[in-house]
Structure formats: structure tokens, C-alpha cells
Symmetry: C2
């Protein structure tokens, strides 16, 4: 049997940590279609158009990268201008349109105008997302040429194709669905995401598009997204590199039939919040599972920190330490490297109280190797594909969890010849 390969990039083996796409079903008020604008030399869809019925509201979280990109600039400005009303999203793979100056901004404007024209909407009601190489100007003409034809094929059943069209170095498409109840009405949430390197998020760019038929104001969506992002997309890291284009959009079409929720504090939203978090968490973890070259999926729990923020910083330092990540790749329970990473996070710790566990196995306690430390049991544990590392730093009640993957030779290989 041959190894399965990525639908996005010919010859790229699918991650051993891949999970299957869910059955997306439909989100009332959402239609999707994909097409080929030609940003890749090989045959593959590289443009996604999502259309939303009148009345849909959007919220977004964007990269805090200092350079950013034309599509991110566009979305932030558009949401601000029209209070979150949204009719379309255009996403292209193969070109990030970042660091492209005024010509890049003009290419974004033209793309939005083309989608607006095809859907009889205002340009400010069109969201944009681009992913690919930085510093290459988006050829808007390529998108203008195919958008009418793509718009003619919009379908409520296009989610799976959409999840593939936005891939770059991803080895498998990513999706998640969930349901909740608001006022006795079942509401559905569906989401797709892409990203595999430059996750922290990373250079392959993290993009996530989530839609629901719930009726929720842009402001309430924004508040809920802001809360949920901390423990989901902001709690995964592959390599600590952050993209110019990272974008997470949530769109609520309001077709589920219940009275709109205008505030995130609306008690009717409690179930929805959990479901939204579940979708974001699933997508975020799928990014890690597709971490470039990844062979291990690792959860790091930090407890006993001075605060949750302090715990997050320690967890992140562990997750991004090349020495920790290479040890995991080598199936080496090198807990000394965890000690190293904990200590270099520059956060309050009590070294004589540090405890470290690999799964159920205690490696260290009271600031020393654990009595009865069993190297053979540790080594056996490290052979697993899904690992849990817990570190208590003995100071307070702060805690955080973060997810990462190992650092393998394959990561170096993939990123050493990305553009070739």
C-alpha cells in the first residue's frame, strides 16, 4: 500500500497524525464554491468563494504581525466600516499578498469589487484572505477572470471542497462541526482551517473560517471569539513563527429562527459558546496534527504558576524549545530539557518544588529526579503518537494547556525548499 499524499501539494505525504474531515452538512444562509485561478503550476483549486445571505454578521481575529498583509488590512477596515455586515469571503492560496505595498492594497480592492459585483453586494461586505509566499503581488486579474464562473456554482454543500481549496503545505484538509441550542432552536456551526508550518501561528499562514446559522450580532460574536481564541488558536504552536496573514473569521447568518442575541453575556448563548470553542479547538489541534514534519501530537499542561498568563508563557517556552521538540522526535524522555525550558521562560518558579510528569509517569518532583524514576517505562511512553507532559512549577494556582508537535528532520526538509 502506498502512503497517501496531500490533495494540496503533489507528492507530500499525509501527516501520520491526520484526522478525517467531518460530515459538514449545511449551514443555512451559506453557499460555497471553489475554482482555479492558476496561482499554482499544477492543477488544483486555489480560490474559494463563500457567499452569505443578506443579514449575515461577521467577527474576526487577525494577526498582530507588524507587517501584516493587504487582505488583513482590508478585512479590519471593512468590518469597522460596516459594523460587521458580510455577504462574501474570497480566499486564495498560492500568494499571501503581504509586503506588496500600495499595489497589493489595490489588488485586494479589485478582488473585493469583483466578488461584490458577482453577488450584488457592496465591496465592504466582502472579506478577503490570502495565503502563500510573502512579497509576491496578488494578480487580481486571475481572480476577476474566474469569480463569475465560481459564483455560478455556489452550493450549500461545498464545505469539503472549500477545505481543500485553501490548503498550501497542509497534508490534509481540516474541518469541524458542532451543534448547540438557543431558545429551543438547534443551531449548527461548521468551520474549516488551513495551516501547517508557521503556526504560532505560522508562515504557511493560519486561516480559519467558521459559520453558524445562529442569529448573533457582530459585537457579541467578536466578544465570544476573543475569549475562545486564547485557549484554542492561541494555544497551539508548531514553530513559533507567526504569519503576516493569520485570520479567523466567524460568520453568523441568523437563519436558525431564534431571536437575535445582541450581547455575548446573553444567557441563551452558554451552549453556543461551548460549541464554538469546540469547533475552534478542533481546528486548532488539527493545525498541530499537520505541523510540518510532525510525528507526535503533544499536550503540555503547566500548573502551579503565578497566574494563567505566566503558565501560558512557560507552556509556550516548552512547546517552542528546539531541544525539547527534537528530544520528543527522538522519543527521548529528556526531562532535563523541560527543566531548561521552564527556567528560561523568565517567569516565577520555585525550583525546589518543580514536578514533571510524562503521562502518568513521574520524572521529577521536589526539584530533583523522582525516587524510583523508571527510564524503561519513560522510553516506552515516549513511543506513543500522542503524548502528555505536565509541569508543576510550585508557585501558585495559575494553569494553562498548550498543544504542539515534535521537530523532525522532515520539518527542515520541507522548509529548506519551500519555494523550489
Amino acid at each position: 500500500m502506498s502512503t497517501p499524499t496531500s490533495p494540496g501539494k503533489p507528492g507530500l505525504s499525509v501527516s501520520p497524525l491526520a484526522v478525517a474531515l467531518p460530515a459538514f452538512g449545511r449551514i443555512a444562509g451559506v453557499r460555497l464554491a471553489v475554482g482555479r485561478a492558476g496561482f499554482y503550476k499544477h492543477e488544483r483549486p486555489d480560490v474559494l468563494l463563500m457567499a452569505f445571505d443578506d443579514g449575515a454578521m461577521a467577527a474576526g481575529v487577525f494577526t498582530r504581525h507588524g507587517v501584516g498583509s493587504a487582505p488583513v488590512d482590508w478585512c479590519q477596515s471593512a468590518i469597522q466600516q460596516n459594523g460587521g455586515a458580510v455577504r462574501a469571503l474570497v480566499c486564495n492560496a498560492g500568494c499571501a499578498n503581504s509586503f506588496t505595498g500600495p499595489p497589493g492594497a489595490e489588488a485586494a480592492r479589485r478582488t473585493a469589487a469583483a466578488a461584490a459585483h458577482a453577488l450584488s453586494a457592496a465591496p465592504e461586505e466582502v472579506m478577503l484572505a490570502s495565503t502563500g509566499v510573502i512579497g509576491v503581488l496578488l494578480d487580481a486579474a486571475k481572480i476577476e477572470a474566474v469569480l463569475p464562473e465560481i459564483a455560478a456554482r455556489l452550493s450549500p454543500d461545498g464545505w469539503a471542497e472549500a477545505s481543500e481549496a485553501i490548503m498550501t503545505t497542509d497534508t490534509f484538509p481540516k474541518g469541524a462541526v458542532a451543534e448547540a441550542t438557543i431558545d429551543g432552536h438547534t443551531v449548527r456551526i461548521a468551520g474549516i482551517a488551513k495551516g501547517s508550518g508557521m503556526i504560532a501561528p505560522n508562515m504557511a499562514t493560519m486561516l480559519a473560517f467558521v459559520a453558524t446559522d445562529a442569529a448573533i450580532s457582530s459585537l457579541a460574536l467578536q466578544d465570544m471569539l476573543g475569549v475562545a481564541i486564547t485557549d484554542t488558536f492561541n494555544a497551539v504552536t508548531v514553530d513559533g513563527d507567526r504569519s503576516t496573514n493569520d485570520t479567523c473569521l466567524v460568520i453568523a447568518t441568523g437563519k436558525a429562527g431564534h431571536a437575535p442575541a445582541l450581547e455575548a453575556t446573553d444567557p441563551r448563548l452558554s451552549g453556543f459558546k461551548v460549541a464554538l470553542r469546540d469547533v475552534l479547538m478542533s481546528l486548532a489541534q488539527q493545525l498541530v496534527r499537520d505541523g510540518e514534519g510532525a510525528t507526535k501530537f503533544v499536550r503540555v499542561d503547566v500548573t502551579g504558576a503565578a497566574s494563567d498568563a505566566s503558565a501560558r508563557k512557560i507552556a509556550r517556552t516548552i512547546c517552542e524549545s528546539p531541544l525539547v521538540k527534537t528530544a520528543i522526535a527522538g522519543e527521548d524522555a529528556n526531562w532535563g530539557r523541560l527543566v531548561m525550558a521552564v527556567g528560561r521562560a523568565d517567569e516565577p518558579i520555585r525550583r525546589e518544588a518543580i514536578a514533571i510528569h510524562f503521562g502518568p509517569l513521574c520524572a521529577a518532583k521536589d526539584g530533583m529526579v523522582a525516587p524510583g524514576y523508571d527510564e524503561a517505562a519513560m522510553s516506552a511512553y515516549m513511543k506513543g503518537q500522542e503524548l502528555e507532559i505536565s509541569v508543576d512549577v510550585g508557585v501558585g494556582a495559575g494553569r494553562a494547556s498548550m498543544w504542539t508537535c515534535d521537530l523532525t528532520k522532515r520539518y527542515v526538509e520541507i522548509n529548506g525548499d519551500y519555494r523550489s
Copy 2:
């Protein structure tokens, strides 16, 4: 012709970026000898004893790591107790004696006592340094057993052997010498260092021992070391990981014949400061040249930053970005990744003014790809073994230089099986 291998670790190929040891000569008042305590399974010297004549003064810079190690604790406390008077240094490879609790502290105390006994000194006049695996208790008995025999062989000509005895995963021994004039007297400086991974500094631990025959107070030495370290050891990074044991000691024996300098502001020290910086810079750059798996030696200059500190942070973010480092390994002039790294440093930048050069070649200016960008010329440049990358961020007059190496499959290989 077979590839030369490391004198420290059998079978480890010497870095292609290696440089030869200098002719150390002697430093009046310094004697050295090495021996084998047995911290390694294979035959190699693993203990260094340096002895200093009465009157020598020491200054040190130590890891700011939150866990640290017993030898670092010992040195910091000893220097404080006795105002920097120093008679000996004991360094062992093969065990870091970090995260070893009270038993580790006791092992350090016993080691210092053994050296003090052999040299008729006070224990507080003995400096300690350990390097190797974290979390393993130092077996002081092994050092106690060999110290008398090593002390009997102390010689002013032992520098080259010393530079080899302190290696761990280093592929070549590291040394530097310089001369200066104080009051018409020629003074000499000699230094050795070790470190190759966990340089930022790194897990293999960075240790540097520098001695001079100049007559300089501990306080003045400390001030000069504090200044010089910023642009030397603190300006090199291999992988961003920082060790529990990093130590840089400078010892002045006062045998050169001039009247002692008590303050770093003493104008007679101007030439000495340059020479000290040269030695530290040479040693620091040799650490990068021995970066685990390194095939490229890279200088990164950042200009136009809001301050020197801001420039340093941007330079460091570039130097530690896995995506930048893997692109360099792949000889890919992927300047988009530089843009990514610049933007994620969270420092003030003006994106429409960013300019990037590879050596003399302009890749980007005014926030876009440079007019006449020549990919073929870039690719040819990237094939060089020594590279210079310059980034101007267009804000102010802040500038910094930092040195790093590429991230290769070999790095992953070395660190995936460090303990095996």
C-alpha cells in the same frame, strides 16, 4: 580523505565552519592540567583544573536561568563572599549538576574543598563549572579521586589540552588570545570556551574561561565584562535555548608588572577593553561556528530601529526563527521569511520603509520587492558559507548585530539522540 572527527565525542564530524586553535602561549600566574574522572564511557579527559597564583581576581557572568545549577550557585556566592579573590577553577564535562537539589549543592561543596586542599587555598577561592546532562547528580568522589594527581601536573602550557577537556558535543576546541598595553607593559589575554547546542546560550552549556596577566580589580573586571558581554556572548544564538549552567569567568592574575587598575573607567584600560572584547567575540563566534549541525555562519545586522535594544530584539527574532534558519540551510534567499520575522518581533517598524539586503544584493526596499530583484544572483550568494543579512526597519537610529547559524537536519539528528 576521511572527515575529521571531534576530539570530544567519537564519530562526531568536525563542523565545516571550524577554525583552528590559536597558539596560546602562557599567562603569567596561570597553570592548567586535565584528567579523567570517568564521566564518559569512552576515554577522554573530562576534568580541568586551573590554578591561579595568589592575588588573582575574578569576575563572572552567569546564566539568568530560573533553575540554574549547583556550580553557578557556588560561584556567585563565592565571588560575593571573598570579593573576587580566586585560586582555582574546577570544570567537569559529562554532568551539569543542575536540578539536583541539596545533594547537588553538597557535591559542589566537596569538589571545591578537594581543589582547595590540593592547592592550599580556601574553598571560597575555588570556582566551579559543570556541563553535561541536566538532572544528574555530580559524583564528587570521582573528582576527589583524581584532583591530587591532576594538581601534580599543573603547567603554564596546558591551555590547548584544557580547551579539549571541557568539550561536550563540541566538534572542535575553541580558544582565542589577544594583547594590549597598560602603562607601557604588554598584557596578554587567553580564553577557552565550549558550547555548540543550547546556545542562546544552549543546553550543551556555554562555558568560557578567560585569563589575563593584567592587574585589575574584581570590580573593574566585572564592569568591563558586563559591557563586553552584550555584543559578544549575548549576541550569538544557535537555537534560542539557554542553559542552566552558562558561565563566563575572567581572571586577572596581576603579574604583568603595572600598577593595578581599580576602576573600569581607568583610562589606561582602553586598549585592554578592546582586547578583552576581541577575545570574547572570537570565542562567541566560535560557538556559532560549532552550532549543532551548522553549515552556514550568518551575521544579521539590523539598522533603523527605535533603539539599540529594539534592534537587538529584531535581530534575535530573525536569528531564532526556524523558518529563516531552514531557508538558509536550503540556500534559499527567502526574504519573505525575514519580513515575517521582523514583523513578529513586536518592535516599532515602518513597513513601507523596510529594506533587506543579502550581502551587497538588495532584496527589498520601500516595503516591497526591490526593483531589478535578481533571483539568480541571490541564489548564488546563498551558496556561500559565510552570509550577511541586513535589515533596515526605517524608524530610527538603533542598530545591532547578531550571529547565528542555519537549522539543518543534522541539528535534529544530534538532539534527537543526545542521551543515547
